[in-house]
């Protein structure tokens, strides 16, 4: 859902934090359902990208209970922030105490995928070195 590989997600060292965070915001039951349905989609759609995409869209993103959570998880990976769930969702599921907009931690900010996606570094962190602004960005493009 993020467009980054599982290895890259682990590479942020945020997986454990987020895994503990989400049920603390939306509760074990909804989080458990999201994981179970994701797992089901992943098993059925393994090796078949279009099918997997279809299953995730139908079973998760279009689901009024799980869709908003799943979108929040994706933006969590990208921005290191949790956004308060939409009012429609809160009207149905109640206003959870921890469901407020906040930056998870200093690490979650620097490890946001957004910086990788736009090929830059988080402002004020992960500095690329004095004078690097005068040089072409570092790339590791495979010559082959």
């Amino acid at each position: 859902m993020t467009g980054f590989s599982e290895a890259e997600l682990h590479g942020t060292a945020m997986a454990k934090t987020y895994f503990a965070l989400i049920p603390s915001i939306v509760g074990e039951a909804l989080f458990g359902r999201l994981l179970a349905i994701w797992h089901d989609s992943w098993i059925r759609g393994k090796g078949d990208e279009p099918l997997l995409e279809q299953l995730v869209t139908d079973q998760i993103l279009d689901d009024p209970d799980l869709g908003p959570i799943a979108r929040n998880v994706a933006s969590l990976w990208y921005l290191g922030m949790w956004f308060q769930l939409p009012a429609e969702w809160r009207n149905v599921h109640g206003a959870w105490a921890n469901d407020v907009t906040f930056v998870v931690s200093p690490q979650s900010y620097t490890e946001g995928l957004v910086w990788k996606a736009i090929h830059t570094h988080p402002p004020a962190a992960k500095q690329p070195g004095y004078g690097s602004w005068a040089l072409p960005p570092v790339t590791t493009e495979d010559a082959s």
Binding site: S5, G11, Y130, V138, D142
Partner: protein, 353 residues
């Protein structure tokens, strides 16, 4: 120039030291360059396995040592260029295949790529071990790095003591020297140009004293170079191992007795020892990230090679590569290895042009 051998009987001419030709000196200096470099990947693995914000003092100490190892590489490159020998850095043979012995050492211990831990620090202590009092210079199969440098120092002194020796030896182009004025920043001290026996001996002194201490003390004697005296590398690592800082009354032969240095040996990414790209051939996501790391590393060696061979300004371009390498290493440190033993992947430092 007074040498130790000049004190022997005046009836028998003193034997030349093991390093007694310019070619032999060049060869040994290139080895010195390899030795300095070979310590950096192990130190970096320990450093980057410490998560941000954990073990702050220990990681600051390790980082300060790595910075000085980089300075040593530049100083050795200056020594090579001073005697007109191109330093070779971008070469598959330049990189050790870990686990490895220090190049040309007596093979008493192996150096591995390990995460922060007692095993890693024990190895670092062996690498930086001070030479025993009165230990002889060793041009090969050396016991301590200091003894190897002592042999190089003898070589310089011997060759310069020959008629016209100093003039004939220091024929390198001044434009290849990297000094602290324009191209080098970031601490660990400033490099200086080598163009004479005096400056060559100063460079060698700076290298060995930062490693093992100045004149059998705890400190590197850097105040003589206009810098603050710091603990030599061996003693910085010993502080981490002992969990205690040295204080002014401590001696090199004893343990540190100063303030406590809190070390949490479990606050680290447990990188599997000596990772290799080939181990992850069937894990394309990880394989790709490891390859990207190695390509960056190889690019960095290429940059250093260019900087050492007539384009000192290239050193500034190497800096973004070093930072990039760090972030890539930290990413690899956090990825589970999939071995089922709780270890993580880690950077492999292999040649990948």
């Amino acid at each position: 120039m007074k040498t130790t051998s000049s004190r022997t009987s005046s009836l028998t001419p003193p034997l030349p030291p093991p390093i007694n030709t310019p070619d032999s000196l060049k060869e040994h200096l290139q080895t010195a360059l390899m030795i300095e470099h070979s310590t950096i990947p192990p130190y970096l693995c320990a450093l980057y396995s410490i998560p941000n914000g954990e073990n702050v003092t220990a990681s600051t100490l390790i980082r300060s040592v790595v910075m000085e190892e980089m300075l040593h590489m530049v100083l050795v490159a200056n020594l090579l260029n001073a005697i007109n020998c191109p330093p070779k850095v971008k070469d598959p043979k330049f990189i050790p295949t870990y686990p490895a012995y220090l190049p040309h050492s007596d093979k008493k211990f192996v150096v591995q790529l390990l995460p922060f831990g007692t095993d890693a620090i024990e190895t670092f202590l062996k690498i930086e071990m001070p030479a025993p009092l009165g230990a002889p210079p060793q041009s090969g199969d050396f016991r301590t790095i200091a003894q190897f440098y002592a042999a190089i120092r003898q070589g310089f002194e011997y060759l310069c003591a020959q008629p016209g020796g100093e003039k004939k030896l220091f024929v390198g182009s001044a434009s290849k020297q990297i000094d602290g004025s324009s191209w080098y920043y970031g601490g660990g001290g400033a490099p200086f140009a080598v163009d004479s026996l005096k400056t060559a001996l100063e460079a060698i002194a700076e290298i060995t004293e930062q490693g093992e201490g100045y004149d059998h003390t705890l400190y590197d004697g850097d105040n003589r170079f206009g810098q603050v005296d710091e603990l030599a590398h061996f003693f910085r690592f010993n502080e981490i191992r002992a969990g205690r800082r040295y204080q002014a009354t401590d001696t090199p032969n004893g343990y540190p007795t100063g303030a406590a240095l809190v070390v949490d040996w479990s606050a680290r990414f447990p990188m599997a020892p000596n990772p290799k790209v080939s181990e992850y051939a069937d894990r394309p996501e990880i394989h790709q990230l490891m390859m990207e790391f190695n390509r960056t590393y190889t690019k960095l060696l290429g940059s250093l090679d260019t900087a050492f061979n007539g384009t000192p300004s290239e050193l500034l371009k190497a800096v973004p590569l070093m930072y990039d390498l760090k972030y890539r290493a930290q990413t690899l440190m956090a990825i589970p290895s999939g071995r089922g033993d709780g270890t993580t992947v880690g950077p492999s430092f292999e040649y990948a042009p």
